[in-house]
C-alpha cells in the first residue's frame, strides 16, 4: 500500500456496518483498463462487517450483482429500516457469519453507488463523465477490488463470494489472482454470456439509448432518461424471475379491477408489478451506469481472457477451492453453464463442490431465503475456515 497515493476514508461506524471510501491514483498508480485507457483517481465505496483477525486470514469479499451496491448487510442506524441487499445471508450467526468473518463489499467501478463511474466528475472537464467514461470490464472491477484488499493489508482472502455478475467477479478473482484466494463461491453465474443473455442486455441498452433524453449520455444537466431506464429494468426483471415463479406470484390476476379495462392501463398484476419495479429503479440507478455494467457482463469471457479459448486452460491458473451453485429454474444462467465450468475445474484437479439447488424462483433464487443454500454456504465456509484461517480460529 502506498500511503501517498491511496487513501482510506473511514466514515462513521453506523450500526454494525462500516461505510468507507477507498481512493487510489490521485498522484500516480493510475489504473490502466482493459480497453487501454487510463483512469485516475478511482474511488471505491465499500463497507465492512465483522472484525479482521490478527493474522488477517478471515476476510471474505462479497461481490455484488449488476445493480447492487456495497451495502451488503446490516442497518446504518437504529432508525434505518432497510437492511443491506444480502442481509439474509450476512451477519452475526448467519451463514456468512460476521462473528467469524470480516466481510468486505465494494461497489464496482462503473457503478453509481459511490464508486467511480459515468456519473462521477471528470477532472478534465469538471462535468460528469457520461459516455466519456471508459468501458470497463469484470477484470477492471476485480483489479480495483485487489487494490482495495491491498490497502487493507490482506494478503489472501479467505473467500470471494458472489451471485450473477458478482459470480463473474468471483471467477475472475480465482484465475487472475490465484494466490490471493483460498476459496471461491460463484453462485448462479456463468463464465461467459450466452447469445440470449447478450440479447436481453442489448435490448435493455437500446431502450435507454432510444430515449431522446439520454442524449448520447449527456443528460446530467438536462434530465434523466427515466422512461428508457424503466423499460430496461423491466426487461431485466423478467429474466430474473421464471415462468413458474411468475405464475405462482401473479398468474393472470387482475390489478384493482374485476374486468378488463379495454385500454392500455395495467390490467394484470404482473403489468403493474413491472411498471412499479421500473419506476422504483429509476429513482436509485443511473442509466449510463446500467449501460456500462451490462456491457462489462457481456464482454466477460473467462476462457478467452485466460485460456486462449479453452476454459480448462483458464482454470489451470486457479489454486482455490470452489463451491459452484446453480438453481433449477435459472434460465438466464442455466445449470448447464455451471456444469461446464465445474467440468473444466475438475479436469484441472481442483477441489470443487457443485450443487444445483431445486428452486422455482428463477435467477433471483440466490437472493431469496433458502435453507439449502444457507447450509451449503455455511458448511463450505466452516471447512475453509478450519483449513485456512490461521492462529485465532475461535478467538478473533
Amino acid at each position: 500500500m502506498n500511503e501517498q497515493t491511496n487513501t482510506l476514508n473511514t466514515g462513521p461506524t453506523v450500526g454494525q456496518v462500516k461505510k468507507q471510501t477507498f481512493t487510489f491514483g490521485q498522484t500516480g498508480e493510475e489504473l490502466t483498463l482493459d480497453c487501454g485507457r487510463t483512469l485516475a483517481p478511482v474511488s471505491l465505496a465499500f463497507e465492512t462487517c465483522g472484525t479482521l483477525n490478527k493474522t488477517k486470514s478471515n476476510a471474505i469479499l462479497i461481490c455484488h450483482a449488476l445493480t447492487g451496491d456495497s451495502h451488503v448487510a446490516g442497518f446504518y442506524s437504529p432508525d434505518d429500516n432497510k437492511p443491506g441487499w444480502w442481509d439474509l445471508m450476512v451477519g452475526p450467526g448467519k451463514p456468512i457469519d460476521t462473528n467469524k468473518y470480516f466481510v468486505i463489499c465494494s461497489n464496482v467501478i462503473g457503478g453509481c453507488m459511490g464508486s467511480t463511474g459515468p456519473v462521477s466528475r471528470n477532472a478534465a472537464t469538471n462535468k460528469p463523465y457520461g459516455t466519456d467514461f471508459p468501458v470497463v470490464t469484470i477484470g477492471d472491477m476485480v483489479e480495483c477490488q485487489r487494490r482495495l484488499i491491498d490497502s487493507l493489508d490482506i494478503d489472501k482472502l479467505l473467500a470471494v463470494i458472489g451471485g450473477s455478475v458478482g459470480g463473474m467477479q468471483v471467477l475472475e478473482w480465482s484465475v487472475r489472482y490465484p494466490d490471493r484466494v483460498c476459496a471461491a463461491l460463484p453462485l448462479a453465474t456463468t463464465t461467459k454470456h450466452s447469445a440470449q443473455a447478450i440479447a436481453f442486455n442489448e435490448v435493455a441498452r437500446q431502450a435507454i439509448m432510444a430515449d431522446p433524453t439520454w442524449n448520447q449520455g449527456n443528460y446530467y444537466e438536462t434530465g434523466r432518461p427515466e422512461h428508457g431506464l424503466a423499460v430496461a429494468r423491466m426487461i431485466g426483471h423478467i429474466t430474473y424471475l421464471s415462468d413458474e415463479s411468475m405464475r405462482h406470484k401473479f398468474d393472470r390476476k387482475l390489478q384493482d379491477r374485476c374486468e378488463f379495462s379495454f385500454d392500455f392501463e395495467a390490467d394484470f398484476q404482473v403489468e403493474s408489478y413491472l411498471r412499479y419495479q421500473g419506476n422504483k429503479f429509476v429513482d436509485r440507478f443511473d442509466a449510463n451506469s446500467f449501460l456500462y455494467l451490462t456491457k462489462a457482463a457481456d464482454y466477460f469471457n473467462l476462457e478467452n481472457a485466460y485460456g486462449e479459448g479453452s476454459l480448462m486452460a483458464a482454470f489451470s491458473r486457479a489454486r482455490c477451492r470452489y463451491l459452484v451453485i446453480s438453481f433449477t429454474s435459472d434460465w438466464l444462467y442455466p445449470t448447464y453453464q455451471s456444469k461446464t465450468m465445474v467440468k473444466a475445474m475438475k479436469k484441472n484437479g481442483l477441489d470443487v463442490s457443485f450443487c444445483e439447488i431445486e428452486a422455482p424462483w428463477g435467477h433471483d433464487a440466490f437472493l431469496l431465503p433458502n435453507e439449502r443454500l444457507n447450509n451449503l454456504l455455511s458448511g463450505f465456509l466452516d471447512r475453509v475456515r478450519a483449513e485456512c484461517v490461521r492462529g485465532d480460529t475461535d478467538a478473533i
Copy 2:
C-alpha cells in the same frame, strides 16, 4: 350474406394469389365488439389460393400470427421475389396443398396490413383512429373472419390452421362456431397467456408508449415512434427464438470486427441482428397496431370466455377433430400448455392428435422448414379430407 351491406372487392389475380378486400357494416350489421363498443364499416384484407370446390367443402382458413398478414403464400407477380409468410407450407403440392384445398387468409381486425385497425380512417373525425380505436379481442377477430366466410357462402371450413396468436384464433373458432369447423390445427399456441408472456408483451408496449413521438397514439401526422417500436420488436424477437437456436446462430461471434469496440456499438452479431430486425419491422408495421394485437393476445382466455373458468367446460362446446402441435424449445408457449389443452379436449371425448416436435428453433419453429411438421399436417389433412370433403374429392 347481405348483398346490401357486405362487399367483396376482388382485386386482380396476380400469380397464384387472389388479393381481395371484404367490407361489412357500411349500411348496417355493425360489429359489436367484446368491449361493448360498435365498429363500422369494417374491412378485412384477404387472399385466397386454390379453387373452392362445388360443394364448398374444401376451404381452409389460415390465421396469421401477431404481426403477420393475409399474404400467406405465393407471389404477386413473376417479378415478385418475396413469397407469402407460409409459402413453405401452402401451395400446389405442398403440405397444405392448393391443388386440393381452397386456402383463405385474412389480416386480423386491429392489424395494419389492409384490415380495419388503429391506422384506418375514423369516419367520425376523418383522421386515423389511433388509440380511439376500440380494444379488440381474439373473439372479435374470429367474428370478423366468420362474416368473411359467410360472404364466401362457405357453411363449414374443412380446417382452421394457425400458429401462435393464429393458433388462438383456431381455438376460438373451434369453440365459438363448433358447427362451422371440421378440423382445427392449433400450432405452438396456448389457451391463455402465462404471466411471463403477458410480461414480455407489457414491456414491449411500454417501450412504445415511452417513446415521446408515440404521443398517446396520435402520431400519424407528426412522425412514428420508430425507436420504441424497434425496441418492442427486439423484445418479441428474443421470445421467438431459443437459447439453443441463438447459440447455434450467433453464439458470441463478433460483427465485422476482431476485437471489442469498447463503446456501445453492436459488438456481437446477435446485437446487430436484433437492431436489424427492429429497424426492419418499423418499416412495415404500425406501433398502435402492435399495442392492440399484443393486448388481444394477453386478454385471450378460452376457459374464462367459454367455460366459466374451466377449460374442460370450454371444450365441451367443440365438435371438430384437433391436431395440436408444440415444439420442444418453444418457451413462449411451452409444451405443458399444449398438454393442458389436449387433456381438456380428450376429457370431452374429442378426436385429438397431439405431437410435440423436437426442434431447437424456439417458438418460430412452426414457420421453419420441418419435415415432421409437413408430414403431420399433410397426413392429418388427408384424413380430414377423406372424411369431410363432399362430392368431388379427386376432381375439383
